[in-house]
Symmetry: C2
Subunit: 422 residues, 2 copies
Amino acid sequence: MLEILRGNLVSAPRLGALDVAERGYLVLEDGVIRGVFDKLPAQYAVAPVTDYGDALILQSFADMHLHAPQYPMLGMGMDLPLLDWLNTYAFPTEAQFADPDYARVVYRALAEDLIANGTTRVCMFSSLHTEATWVLMEELERSGVTGYVGKVNMDRNGAPGSLQESTDESVRETIRWLEGCRFDRVKPILTPRFTPSCSDELMAALGRLAAERGLYVQSHLSENVREMEWVRQLHPDCRRYWETYDKFGLWKDHTVMAHCVHSDEVERRAMHRAGVAAVHCPASNVNICSGVCPVRRMLREGVWVTLGSDIAGGDQLPMYQVITAAIRASKDRHIMDNGSTEFLTVEEAYYLGTTSGHRYFGAGEGFAAGDRLHAIVVDDSNFPRSGRPLSVTERFERALYLMGAKNIVAVWSDGRCVVKKR
Amino acid sequence: MLEILRGNLVSAPRLGALDVAERGYLVLEDGVIRGVFDKLPAQYAVAPVTDYGDALILQSFADMHLHAPQYPMLGMGMDLPLLDWLNTYAFPTEAQFADPDYARVVYRALAEDLIANGTTRVCMFSSLHTEATWVLMEELERSGVTGYVGKVNMDRNGAPGSLQESTDESVRETIRWLEGCRFDRVKPILTPRFTPSCSDELMAALGRLAAERGLYVQSHLSENVREMEWVRQLHPDCRRYWETYDKFGLWKDHTVMAHCVHSDEVERRAMHRAGVAAVHCPASNVNICSGVCPVRRMLREGVWVTLGSDIAGGDQLPMYQVITAAIRASKDRHIMDNGSTEFLTVEEAYYLGTTSGHRYFGAGEGFAAGDRLHAIVVDDSNFPRSGRPLSVTERFERALYLMGAKNIVAVWSDGRCVVKKR
């Protein structure tokens, strides 16, 4: 079935570039993009048009790193650095997801919050609980959020008795979890929490599973200086953090590594070489004082950089806020580097929060023909009135800074309209 | 008339301290606070109670630096450093306020946005336009926002023909403006834009006006390194920026100086000595890459630090967002200083955004007996559900991070309830 969306279309085909079609047309066939046009080609003249008027039609967002079971502690307890923060706040909060009924309530709210804010693709950590992880996947699918979810593996340095598995149990439960994953749009990803949480035996078992079943892997990398020191003590044979994953077959194409704040040039080269996706988490990096990630340098070196809200180290779930936080973090870096690194432009940060993440799921660039549509419609009519007409590009910038869920009047995910307020 | 408000009261009596009265009582007489009590004293038993249930009752916010005529450009054009940003974005936007009808529309929306977000006291820049400044003061008063507003003075380096006055005109219009200010809760403050915008003759005239009429003064100080260099060229006799104000009698008790990012120890000592209030503008400082203000050092040295949204260098009007931005900026500073300066706690940042600003207007500390009430009531029932009961202090932290205008169900300003949603 053909259908046409009309509005001010803004997409990011490449880092730093914007495609703008003012009052343009996006042609869909069965949810798949045929093309974006300034003028409607004659052959589509008969297709029904959904006209969003003067609203902006933007790409939806891809949140490439967040911890679902930390949603209940959003906006709390950010007075400690990473390792203390994990033990004091994050682990006790996650332990509660042993109860699938509690998980149902929290994850339904989280999934609705994500989709209402235009996040249609995620790469997400659950807790170590198998049942709760299925519940999370169900609730995401139900609300229209697509992507990857991982049952977390952690057999050491957790919270024994409440949030830790034995090695056997971790492997067994992972297999049980994988076999129970029967969802259309939400797929499993292997998720060793981070090197200090996983014994060598567990890492090796996960590496084998990844290879045997062709699964992707996500974890954390070089977030915090004390954490890196700990990893060096745990793996004296590894010169750098990334090697602790590589040694077990977990460092490979499409491996997702969150943070990478303190990765040096060698580690960044290893990312580039392997096709690892780095997830920049600007809010969390400042909240728990991890550091200011040198994103510009990573981009120059060709590292694949995406963005993550990293709730609840990050304090804001909406990815438009993560995009502006990434701009701010790059300006902090610019200031710290005495101006020697350029900050991210709005166009660049938008690319990182959209296309760069969507690519992980096989999508093309911007609103690419052949992709199933992931988009949001933004009504900015309640923003402060300007004394002159604003260009679509100016409105686009302002929308990223000022919008809230209430401005998002429609959301398209995987070719389907999943939120429709008008 | 006696009346009682009941709820979870949280106020900041001193830097870093919180007074919490869980389901406590705030007793008002004709809008003036009599006291806050855990248990209601017998003599008040007959007074009518407004019970806000489980909601939080917080101090309202004081925004000590913002540019009203930049409201139309909120969230746009932050790709340039200060001096270029002024010429490219800020000046053309302000020039439009020559039209009082346009000012009416914008300032009504601004005043409503302020009060809906719990800002009840401001120290604000208008543009140089006399009529538009009166309109601004009227609209603030109408919505319940109180404080100081200044017609801006600028007789050089502005935008000749659209946003610049002659010296004579600037003085004459300032006097005309002062004489037309007949508002109950919004008072005039002298406002030389910043040293580069004002000739010596104009500065001297404003200094005389300040002395003759007992007026307070607001301006900008040491925001940006290039600006400071320019000021040194303009005033070769002054070793530091602050002396360019001092020389004309503008550096005195209750002078408000925005930014102070690059003020050194000597300049900070001059603030402390004179009773100058520094306004920390964390969002703007990063947006236009001014720098990361050493707030912890200023506080240790006894400088009077308050907070400002500094729209539209700042991209967010709500002061709760400025409070969390101040925490983030202090964490950036902590990172840049290799951990040698402690970051601001939530309690400290709340103090800076409330009590420290309210003091400027003669208020006491926290919900002090004898003060007219400035407060907001926050309904946090739509926040993510926690798996355990949260303390009032935890809910308070979370409210600062997560709240929006929709959570503010009542606002009290100058002893009157000016927003009432329930």
